[in-house]
Symmetry: C2
């Protein structure tokens, strides 16, 4: 696939992927993808990543139910960062049960948690 | 600085930083920062990164004039990605003269350039 050859994968064959909500434009999370994850995302329209901890494809939502429908895939100028525009099922993308993984904001010289938990994380992975 | 200790810097002492437009929410670019870059960003309110190619602090706009005023700094759940919410001077953040580095969109199985050049990149670095 020629489009994959334009991506500058790192020495592990991975590229970071930003998932951004296609409607609210909120940055939801950053994960990794390999060639196979990107190709499956393109073909299926569902966000697929590569889990470094499990060393395998991670079809977002396979355990949590929080799938992400991908409406757009973008690539940056250096070809080393990918962006998925997504619709996040249930409005939750973070394993903490929040909309976004970026729920800590610097206030003065301290991080404050500024976003609510929308779903009990204990329950997310029992679905 | 305790807030810096909560960031999971990599083995080079760097963390990736997403710059997002605070108004339009467009994802503009991804670069790197070290502790010093983050502390200067917090203190000055201007986006500072770490240039890997030059191995030194990169005060965004120092050559291009395209400074970024930072209104918010966020950290993700794993502490390994930082997000700056910025106002980009001149509306250009990419070295190609475009608003965003993410100007290529996958259409079918090809990347298409979908965003205009707002400023001649030949001129950007002669300011």
């Amino acid at each position: 696939m020629a489009w994959l050859d334009e991506i500058a994968f790192d020495e592990r064959g991975l590229v970071p992927v930003i998932a951004q909500d296609a409607t609210t434009q909120r940055v939801l999370m950053v994960a990794w993808a390999n060639r196979e994850a990107l190709e499956e995302t393109r073909a299926s329209g569902q966000a697929v990543y590569f889990s470094r901890s499990r060393s395998r494809l991670w079809r977002k939502g396979e355990e949590s139910g929080h799938r992400q429908r991908v409406s757009e895939i973008r690539l940056d100028c250096d070809g080393d960062v990918v962006l998925y525009a997504v619709a996040a099922e249930g409005g939750v993308s973070c394993h903490t049960g929040r909309e976004s993984c970026f729920f800590r904001r610097l206030e003065g010289a301290d991080w404050s948690i500024v976003d609510p938990v929308l779903e009990d994380p204990e329950l997310v992975y029992r679905k």
